[in-house]
Symmetry: C2
Subunit: 308 residues, 2 copies
DNA sequence: CTCGCTCATAAGACCAGCTTATGCCCTCAT
DNA sequence: ATGAGGGCATAAGCTGGTCTTATGAGCGAG
């Protein structure tokens, strides 16, 4: 038996084997909401025996009783309530995935064509799309992700109705509205000496320290270089936000990243944010459209969602 | 064809049918990281043809090309990079689910027995468990969720090694350390008139308005009643945080909830937070243990994670 | 006492995903 | 040049999980 097989035997296989699939989680949420296996079955479009068997096998898989069955319905056990709350998070992430994926697919015949920068497309857009779907379920949206220049190009060629950019400047020919702010923040692994600093970092200190950075030319790198006067010293240059995060987590050194990108990691303290004095690392997130063509219809709808 | 069937046909079935399963998402992440279908296949423990077919069917399902295959390996397309980022969120939620579910199961033979209040178990503990697993992969944790009194009881009966509570007071016989803070906040749906207020709400105004609340006796209700001097007027009383959230989202009225519980909803603007003047809605989250028995071993490890 | 709701069990159909066995393409080193 | 090796695709067959239909049994209300 290989080492991997041994590990998997004791741990119960891979993640996908230990976690019920989305259908089962959705079913569980429906049971929690409706208080009955049969009703939940109807809602998700299967028969009652299928629901019964599915919940049962989920209980076997998790090794925990999730629902109390009675001739008058089914209620969650205490453990079941907890599991359901955790399950809700998985399903919500899946819904965001779905909203995004549908927008990537549509392309043609969509009533709203959006062009967005990577950071916005990655972290904010799925949520907006879900909200939009809640308000106007039949609005088909298509999404194209690219840098500021690409977004501008699409808009000016009338291949997109609304754009979102995060650069320092607004491309020519476009009007814009600030919809949110983003800050670049300095993060380190909790084990890094800086994590124990009491005083904010000085700008010179930051400029003098080799940092884990995105490659030159990326949006976040531009902002940082501008803020430091072109002085940022790279320890490593990586080509994706994810790679930078991973590198920082493994304590390779301090990294500079968008607040949006590390919100999760900060919340669970996988990374720690270091305050910096005297550097303007704030940047605007903007909605953009061709000069004069104020967004109307679905575009206007989406725009209003992004500002509350 | 029924209405439901019609809707499903056009939308492509239920969520579980539109979103690839966890195994496929994990595989995609592996491909992104390793740059090759075959290598990714080895990592997740399947054969190369299986991986090839799985990625292909995922592309068909989403209607988007995800990877550029070449005789020298596979790289993500632009759309693939975006999809992978969204997929990562789903997988992370699933990992948190898994960490929590394992802790619910173990019960016996676990080296660390934790008792926690619902809110903490729901929102914070999975993240801590993941962090702990990263540091000490072989620490089996068991979890019991209950109110403050139940947590105290377990600790004093030596049936738990470490507890977490969120009440106003620390139960007798326990020492404690504040590990974080939580605030109760007033939230409304974006459509609610309060969402457009410019000035903070006065305490009297809050006390005079019927609110969507948890039932009397719940932790958050206790804190609110104490802060308002027992004056909170319920519009409806519901028995779970989730029900309160749902009710607030559907614009039934203002609700008061833990900041932890609505972080997500605020981020995507499904709910809006209303500042309140002159009321102390802050409460401490505390780790607790039997007086004199400072946590050692795995308990100490976990405790240190909760504070960074 | 029977209707209507609940859930459980059993038997069989079906399909998605896996494996093994191939083959082709490209690159690099001998 | 030529073979070795890594990359991916295709085909055929097996397996297991999940569905369905059919049925039965418990509990409560009219």
């Amino acid at each position: 038996m290989s080492e991997k097989e041994e590990r998997e035997r004791t741990a119960g296989g891979t993640l996908a084997h230990r976690v019920p699939d989305l259908g089962a989680l959705e079913l569980l949420l429906a049971v929690a909401r409706l208080g009955s296996l049969g009703a939940a079955a109807r809602e998700v479009g299967i028969t009652q025996p299928a629901a019964s068997s599915r919940i049962r096998s989920m209980e076997r898989q998790l090794g925990v009783a999730l629902v109390d069955r009675s001739p008058r319905g089914s209620r969650l056990t205490d453990a079941g309530a907890l599991v359901t709350d955790w399950a809700r998070r998985v399903v919500e992430a899946a819904e965001a995935f779905d909203a995004g994926a549908q927008a990537l697919r549509d392309r043609r015949d969509s009533r709203l064509r959006v062009a967005a920068s990577m950071t916005i497309a990655e972290y904010l857009l799925p949520g907006w799309l879900l909200a939009l779907r809640a308000q106007r379920p039949d609005t088909a949206v298509s999404l194209l992700a690219g840098n500021s220049a690409a977004v501008a190009e699409r808009l000016l060629a009338d291949e997109a109705d609304l754009g979102f950019v995060e650069g320092l400047t607004v491309p020519h020919g476009l009007d814009s509205a600030v919809i949110a702010h983003d800050r670049l923040i300095v993060v380190v692994a909790p084990a890094h000496p800086w994590a124990r600093r009491r005083r904010p970092l000085a700008a010179e200190e930051l400029a003098a320290t080799p940092l884990i950075l995105r490659e030159r030319g990326s949006g976040t790198r531009q902002v940082l270089d501008a803020a430091l006067g072109g002085l940022a010293r790279p320890l490593i240059e990586l080509s994706s936000t994810t790679a930078v995060k991973a590198s920082a987590v493994s304590a390779a050194g301090p990294a500079v990243l968008s607040e949006l990108a590390v919100r999760e990691e900060l919340a669970i303290r996988r990374l720690v944010s270091i305050p910096v004095d005297g550097v303007a690392l704030r940047r605007d997130l903007r909605a953009v459209w061709p000069t004069g063509h104020r967004p109307t219809g679905p575009a206007r709808e989406l725009l209003s969602l992004t500002r509350g």
